[in-house]
């Protein structure tokens, strides 16, 4: 299966949709890494580098958006959601302005740069802000479709992309992406794995492995983390009786928390969360780090079996 990083898809999407939509792109001196340079090469008159000043970038984006522009503001997740939190909160989300935050290099798979650049808190931070939509696409096709959905959505959107090349699992022509809708990728009755981002192909692999052992594991791709698809979670809980969430994020505040909130309110069933266990990352090769922090198909298999055992 072909592989590519979702940040590459972000750049391709901006360049493609720059033809069709009057979008403005801002970047904070990372255009070669965030891949906004793909847009820059094609539409230099609509690209503005803000230099290494993420707070100013977000507030400038707000000003542009107040004049009717659709603005993409890009940086690494750490400096977008982290450093510029308050500019996003007060300047973009409070007035519900049309700013789309393209946050790349999210998660542990940043690799060698280490803990300072491995953002494992951004979903949690962004999820608590009213008016914010959060999308964490799993692959190239979904990333491109998510960028177009973000352009069409009236209001702020946080788009989370990765640095690491990941399997291209969806076909752009047939895959349906809708903000706020989870997608059931594999049917199953014994347990449901709800995954996001690069854990989606891992969840699919885990389901195959479980099948070989006679366990029927449903797989749901939850690209939109806010607003979360309550219906698909409730249905999965009632039909399979156990849930495992898998994400490249701290288990506090991210997908696992969002799913747990829904389960508590609508359909309490046993649930286990895969993600980083409230620890900082470290330098290393992405694949090694994913192994160390348990972000693998094998760990999903293990947790799925545990979750099934917890059923009454």
């Amino acid at each position: 299966m072909a592989k590519s990083a979702t940040r590459e898809a972000y750049g391709l999407a901006l360049a493609e949709f720059g033809e069709k939509y009057d979008i403005i792109v801002l970047d904070a001196d990372l255009s070669k890494s965030t891949k906004t340079d793909t847009f820059l090469k094609k539409f230099p008159e609509r690209f503005f580098n803000t230099g290494i000043a993420e707070g100013n970038m977000m507030s400038t984006a707000a000003g542009l958006a107040s004049c009717g522009k659709i603005v993409f503001a890009s940086s690494f997740a750490m400096f977008a959601a982290g450093r510029a939190f308050e500019q996003i909160r007060n300047g973009i989300c409070y007035p519900k302005l049309n700013v789309k935050i393209g946050a790349t290099h999210a998660g542990i798979s940043v690799g060698e740069d280490g803990a300072t650049h491995q953002c494992l808190e951004d979903i949690g931070i962004m999820r608590t802000i009213p008016n914010m939509v959060i999308i964490n696409p799993a692959d190239k096709a979904e990333s491109i479709l998510a960028v177009e959905a973000a352009i069409k959505h009236d209001g702020p959107v946080y788009l989370r992309f990765g640095r690491l090349a990941v399997p291209e699992i969806f076909d752009r022509d047939t895959y349906k992406f809708e903000i706020g809708k989870g997608v059931e990728l594999i049917e199953g009755n014994d347990v449901t794995i709800i995954a996001t981002g690069l854990l989606v192909p891992e969840a699919m692999e885990a389901s195959e492995k479980l099948k070989a052992e006679g366990i029927s594991a449903r797989v749901i791709n939850m690209a939109t983390i806010k607003p979360i698809d309550r219906e698909i979670i409730e249905k999965a809980a009632k039909e399979t009786g156990a849930i495992v969430t898998a994400e490249e994020h701290n288990v506090i505040g991210g997908l696992g928390s969002a799913v747990a909130e829904v389960l508590c309110e609508l359909a309490p069933v046993p649930m286990l969360r895969i993600g980083t266990q409230d620890v900082f990352g470290q330098s290393g090769k992405p694949a090694e780090l994913l192994e160390i922090y348990g972000l693998t198909a094998d760990n999903i298999v293990k947790k799925a079996k545990e979750a099934i055992k917890l059923k009454k």
Partner: protein, 283 residues
């Protein structure tokens, strides 16, 4: 130069803005009268004489725009917006009250005439940059005005924005610093000196003008110089008096963020009413 009739009108409007500031803050029993009074004259001039905007133009993409970067001085902005007919003057008394659209800090979604939400210091000037940049991109000739506090200059983002405005040659941006010399904890030069303000902005590539904040002719002259300056943004440093127009509030830091009690409110209003009579007699 403003003729005498116009000058009288401006002085009377500014006096009314000051009364709205006091009425709002007194009714709310909280808010920021000191810095609101120090910018009452400049917001009056902007909305009455300078800016191409009106309640009818509120959604017009060609209108001039205003960002109150020092958003805590919302009572002055609300005062002039009420004077210009954006909303009823009676509503000023609902400032900061539950259910009122007149929020403690400017809210562009709920308050007629507010072009940008603000209140978190350092961010408004960046937003003004974005508006000015949008004007350049769309080849519209509107201008963008923003007022910062002198204490606000301590926020690092102000200097990110200062670099940015000069880098992108935003000559359609005219910023002001309300240089009254006082912030919450006292004298700005003692808390964390942003001085010298003029040389800093010059070094950042701005056209800098120093001006008396309470002299309408000098202010208009400075704003016109800014309009004529091409290729760079302008910073007008307003030498102002915090609490201007209410003798017991003038140059007293503690009036930054406290409301007058009933007695103080009546004394302040009486003082401004007496000033209004003097303006009328002089006219």
């Amino acid at each position: 130069m403003l003729d005498n009739k116009k000058l009288t009108e401006l002085k009377l409007t500014a006096a009314n803005v000051r009364k709205h500031v006091l009425t709002g803050v007194h009714a709310a029993a909280s808010g920021h009268p000191g810095g609101s009074l120090s910018i009452a004259d400049v917001v009056t001039l902007l909305y009455c004489e300078v800016m191409n905007t009106s309640p009818e133009m509120a959604k017009n993409p060609d209108r001039d725009r205003f960002v109150l970067s020092k958003g805590h001085c919302a009572p002055a902005l609300y005062g002039i917006l009420a004077e210009r007919g954006y909303f009823p003057k009676e509503d000023i008394a609902t400032l900061r009250k539950t259910g009122s659209y007149l929020q403690g800090h400017p809210d562009m979604k709920g308050i007629p005439g507010v072009d940008m939400s603000s209140g978190s210091l350092g961010q408004g000037i960046s937003a003004a940059n974005g508006m000015a940049l949008a004007g350049k991109i769309d080849k519209r000739d509107y201008r963008v005005y923003t007022i910062l506090g002198d204490g606000e200059l301590e926020e690092g983002q102000v200097w990110e924005a200062a670099m940015y405005a000069a880098h992108y040659n935003l000559d359609n941006l005219c910023a002001f610093v309300d240089f009254n010399g006082l912030q919450i904890d006292g004298d700005i030069s003692k808390v964390m000196s942003p001085l010298p303000i003029d040389k800093k902005f010059e070094a950042f590539g701005w056209n800098v003008i120093v001006c008396d904040a309470h002299d309408f002719n000098a202010l208009l002259d400075a704003i016109n110089q800014a309009k004529e300056t091409k290729g760079k943004p302008t910073m007008i440093i307003l030498k102002s008096v915090k609490g201007k127009g209410v003798s017991f509030m003038e140059n007293v830091a503690s009036w930054h963020g406290s409301a007058p009690n009933d007695e103080q409110y009546e004394a302040a209003i009486a003082e401004i009413d007496a000033e209004i009579e003097r303006i009328k007699e002089g006219a």
